[in-house]
Subunit: 157 residues, 2 copies
């Protein structure tokens, strides 16, 4: 289904209005599906199509989208929250590779943790509803470069 229509439905179902501002924000997210944008980044980009928009609206909209499970909020330790569109219904299943040399952030769409989640259920009596898996490291193709230290101090595991 057309993603906009799909999202529009979800808004309607929960009695929220898909205002032009919200549409513009969603559009930016769709156009940058590969990235993990911060509020400020979304704000800047939406300003192009909707110059009058206020920053608080971006915060409020992203929070709303999070509540509707349309986006996922996450924190990579650079001091800002970042947002990522969720794929299909229950696709909470993706992992991240973060390269400490080039800073690239790659998303892995497979779910490698199903076995572990079963094991948690069995051994710990814990039912998983969501998970997060990030790997820090370096791409082999990056190792020649000198190690950038810049934000290393701020880094959050």
């Amino acid at each position: 289904m057309d993603p906009i229509a799909n999202i529009s439905q979800q808004f309607a179902a929960q009695k929220y209005k898909l205002t032009p501002q919200r549409q513009a924000i969603v559009k930016v997210l769709l156009d940058n599906e590969k990235d993990h944008l911060s509020v400020e980044e979304v704000y800047m980009m939406v300003k192009n199509s909707y110059p009058h928009l206020g920053l608080a609206t971006v915060y409020r909209t992203l929070e709303l989208l999070c509540e509707l499970h349309i986006v996922e909020k996450m924190n990579f330790g650079d001091g800002v929250s970042r947002y990522d569109l969720r794929g299909g219904d229950h696709e909470h299943m993706h992992h991240h590779l973060i390269c400490s040399v080039c800073g690239r952030l790659e998303e892995i769409k497979e779910d490698w943790l199903l076995d572990l989640e079963k094991r948690l259920e069995r051994e710990y009596g814990f039912q998983v509803s969501d998970h997060r898996l990030d790997f820090k490291g370096t791409y082999n193709t990056c190792q020649k470069t000198s190690c950038k230290r810049e934000k290393a101090n701020k880094a959050v595991s």
Copy 2:
């Protein structure tokens, strides 16, 4: 080895001083190894043994410990950074269970990701230096309780 002596060595090796303030902070971390304390929490606890201590010193010391890989900084989406003592040398290997009913945070000391890390190396040419794995969900023993919603909005994956 005595953990204090060990840490003391690491300080000396990098030409840092293990001042009484820093010792007091490290002691609090050792005494609460099971928890993931926030700066504010560490501050409160150190105040008992060292009432004169300033908050900025706690920030600075925890950042330093992070740099020395003695603690790990992490963010569970409640708005504050939390710190966790690392175990042995390269023991970056633990995972978290976060119960959305009782809020409990359990640490799993095993490393379940070795196979995945090998696979990343093979299939993605990515060499893992560290990882983070958190599971959100509920303990079976918790499910009777009504679902606390409190901080849910703030939650970061």
